[in-house]
């Protein structure tokens, strides 16, 4: 009897140990598959957010379509075209203090002239060298990579700062999944007169 109990106990332990070992062996693959699934979910969620939050409105150059101006999706999210050289903006007139270029990618106002960024992962001209942390810091602080110059109007950083980290990570994951496009966007142009 005593011998049977011991045998049963050892058998249960063996099964438990085997199950544990099996789980451990499978776990890395499961984790990897989980991470891939999470990334896929993030990319899909990010694509939805980018579509619905209007990122294409300014970061994709507009062209004249059959029904009027529309985003040129062949240049999706590539920012202000480097070959679209603009003359200085007209001076403000009365209550009209701002101007927009025909591509809807360059904006003039009291802050100077701002050009929308290339959001594709090109390492030299886009977000290719950015990390998720830099992207989150930019959205949270309204400063370039969380440390540099202010992100300029009309980028709605005040609104985007309200996104939770998971949403911002999703947007970043989607942008990083895009094909990289080389397009060096000009640096902002300062206003003629210093503010103070």
């Amino acid at each position: 009897m005593k011998r049977n109990s011991l045998a049963t106990f050892l058998m249960v332990l063996s099964i438990a140990a085997f199950s544990g070992a099996l789980l451990r062996a499978v776990a890395p693959g499961t984790e990897s598959a989980g991470a891939a699934a999470q990334q896929k979910t993030r990319v899909e969620r990010g694509a939805h957010l980018v579509r619905t939050m209007g990122c294409n409105d300014c970061h994709t150059p507009w062209k004249m379509g059959p029904k009027g101006p529309e985003p040129d999706m062949s240049r999706s999210l590539t920012g202000h075209p480097s070959d679209f050289i603009l003359p200085p903006p007209p001076p403000p007139s009365g209550p009209w203090i701002g101007h927009t270029a025909a591509t809807n990618t360059a904006f003039a106002g009291p802050w100077g002239v701002s050009f929308t960024a290339n959001l594709t992962p090109d390492p030299e001209t886009g977000l290719g060298k950015w990390t998720e942390e830099m992207f989150i810091a930019t959205m949270r602080t309204g400063r370039h990579q969380g440390k540099g110059r202010p992100v300029l109007p009309p980028m709605p950083v005040q609104i985007l700062a309200a996104l939770d980290d998971e949403d911002i990570k999703s947007v970043f994951a989607y942008l990083q999944s895009l094909p990289p496009v080389k397009n060096r966007v000009p640096a902002p142009i300062d206003p003629t007169e210093e503010k103070r």
Binding site: L10, G20, T131, M134, A187
Partner: protein, 352 residues
């Protein structure tokens, strides 16, 4: 029972206990702490109890040899280390401060106190950054709002100094390794640079590396910091002074921490000992920021062929938000530094 069976059972039991213990540890969240910056500077521990305006002797004054440019403010700084604690100096590039450490920096313009900034290592995973705005009569200073106070005080004709918001504090003091910026081995070295731009004299009693070592406030003790104090080694005094200026004004972001995409020569205080090499690396380094008027891809951090088109100089001369460097914290450009760097390019770099 066979001794091998007994050993196997014992091993399985231990493994089981470890697994359960690990699972339980992961399930218990860390204790939440709710530290807040006090509403008044007088409540931060800067002053001796019952003696308004008198610095508590537990708070030690210090003066970094290469001060940060802050619109020309006169600044006074103090550190408090809890009794019995020491700074973890095992990584000399990034000292780790004990919980309870506090720093203060008082800013005055034209002899009048304007703001005092406060950094407090409140718990193992939390630093608190706050700014206090001095009241009229300088009786106390009140906690500034989180968004800061733009244009708080006029410091020159038509120019006003901003009190930074909490986001601005974090922008400079780091997200990955938060903490003070001007309290490190180079800044506290006893081999002090006599040509430091805006250098301040050491007052009696101020903390230096020698103090930290002799009072066992560094752990490990690192006696070589006293025997061979940190210094920017350079063939010209101007190179040493200019790189020291870069350490405090640029190196916080322009380094290899990975917090920004900057991939040029690191200007962090701990990466400047070979000053001539850093200067050579800076010279001709292509910047992603394009200098106005320069052809695409032709912009350089420093240029001896077109010194006025050196990106560093152009951005230091600008005080416009989209191009100025450093990007925050100042309204006035630092003319003394611009002059020193212009001379450095013309008289030192051009001879290389």
């Amino acid at each position: 029972m066979n001794r091998w069976v007994r050993a196997a059972v014992a091993a399985l039991a231990v493994a089981w206990l470890i697994a359960i213990g690990t699972a339980m540890q992961a399930a218990v969240p860390p204790a939440a702490e709710d530290h807040q910056a006090p509403q008044r500077l007088s409540e931060t521990g800067l002053y001796a109890a019952g003696r308004p305006g008198v610095i508590d002797p537990a708070n030690r004054a210090f003066a970094p040899q290469y001060p940060l440019w802050s619109d020309g403010a006169a600044k006074t700084r103090w550190i408090y280390l809890p009794p019995g604690t020491a700074i973890d100096a095992s990584d000399n590039a990034d000292w780790a401060f004990p919980v309870g450490t506090r720093f203060w920096k008082e800013f005055s313009f034209n002899g009048k106190k304007v703001e005092t900034r406060f950094i407090w290592h409140a718990s193992a995973d939390r630093w608190i950054f706050a700014t206090y705005l001095w009241t009229e009569g300088e009786r106390d200073a009140l906690l500034a709002p989180g968004e800061g106070v733009p244009g708080a005080v006029e410091i020159a004709l038509g120019k006003r100094h901003d009190i930074p918001g909490s986001n601005d504090c974090k922008a400079c003091h780091g997200a990955k390794r938060p903490g003070p910026l001007g309290f490190n081995a180079l800044q506290l070295s006893t081999d002090r640079d006599p040509n430091a731009i805006h250098g301040e004299p050491l007052a009696p009693g101020m903390i230096t590396l020698a103090t930290l070592v002799s009072e066992r406030l560094l752990s490990p003790a690192v006696p070589e910091l006293v025997n061979n104090p940190p210094r920017i080694h350079a063939s010209s005094p101007r190179t040493r002074a200019v790189l020291g200026y870069f350490a405090s004004n640029c190196g916080t972001c322009h380094n290899r921490s990975g917090e920004t995409t900057f991939d040029g020569p690191s200007l962090k205080h701990s990466d400047l000992s070979d000053g001539d090499k850093v200067a050579a690396d800076l010279l001709g380094f292509a910047t992603t920021w394009q200098v106005p008027g320069q052809p695409d891809g032709a912009s350089r951090m420093l240029s001896i062929t077109a010194p006025d088109a050196s990106a560093m100089l152009v951005r230091m001369q600008s005080r416009r938000p989209s191009s100025q460097m450093p990007p925050l914290g100042t309204t006035l450009r630092d003319d003394a530094a611009i002059d020193a760097i212009t001379k450095w390019i013309a008289m030192d770099l051009s001879k290389r």
